[in-house]
Amino acid sequence: MDYEQLHRDLVRAVDRVCPRWMSDRADDLVQVALMRVMEIQRKKEGTAEFSPFYLKKAAYSAMIDEIRRLRRRQEVSLEGGSDDEEEAVVYDPAAPTPDPERASAGRQVGRAIRDCLGRMVPPRRHAVTLNLQGHSVPEIGRLLGWTTKKAENLVYRGMSDLRGCLGTKGIQS
């Protein structure tokens, strides 16, 4: 297993996807995840080798566990205080996104989008959700077992629903 390559891949993914406060800790997050994977491998050594695919999945899982732990801590810190003894070693919660007002407005629109998604019929909701997640129409079709034509149709109609729903909430396109 090329751990250096895996380390680079995971750090790059965190860097590209996660907000700044977390991507600044990408190295630590990934290091922790890889240590867990190495520990799994150490325990298994002498009996079987895991496939690189399995180890990559294990590294991803360990990384997400760590990310979820950090998110919970951030929620606690932002709620104002915690009894968590680990607070001293946590990231700096005073380093939020560069533009808090913009982030706050973004979160508001994000909540409105989620509310609108909740009101859609399931196939359109699934299509739009995956589209908002950055998947192309053929990818959406493949993931949901649809033809590309069907995926395209549902994305188009779902986006139209979303536009209308956001309009009723005063969010203009």
């Binding site: 002498g46 496939s51 070693v89 989620r114 909701r125």
Partner: protein, 221 residues
Amino acid sequence: MNDEAQQISRWRAAFAELDAAPDPASCPSPETIWSAVRGELSPPQMETVVDHVAACAACAEDWRLAAEIQRQEEKAAAGPGKVIPGRFGQWRPLAAAAALAAGLLIAVGVYRVNQPVQEPTYREVQHAGIRSLLPEGQALSRDAAVLRWSPLAGAVSYDVQVSTEDLRTVATAKGQTATEYRLPQSALTGLPAGTRLLWQVDAVRADGTHETSPTFVTAVR
């Protein structure tokens, strides 16, 4: 970028803004999200996960991370400038590798079934590289907690990472030239007696290449 593309881009950015999960206890496991992104779930399972992602910004982020990792894999598999034809062409390298991995797993399974039960062998037997020089089974004293390891030929420095079993980082050190590292007492404050530390050494060679040790386990008194 036209207006519609800009609009979708804005919505994607807003959808990506982190918000509290509706009920974190109901979040799918990372393994489930990983499998969903790779299209390995049944349609009902997939719909359940996508419905959750639609409502939970945190899991939506977890999903995007898995998707990003997959994209990197596909890019690496395709190589620079290579176009793989066919609707499912992009999956061929993965499918081939998965088939190989599945074959190996079956082979390993058959091998294991036919093997007598034996005590596990430890990495010291198998790794010619860095080894722990701490006496086996001996716990570290808090006021003299020194990790020691065997030198690696050609290494010019060592990075050390120490964590607890629940993966909290206890200490890190970079650029050590000695083949030992004294843990600061402050790093051990608050750890109960008997805590097992996981530690690992990354040796750096003059040409910039690395060699990483196994993860060693040592208790603290």
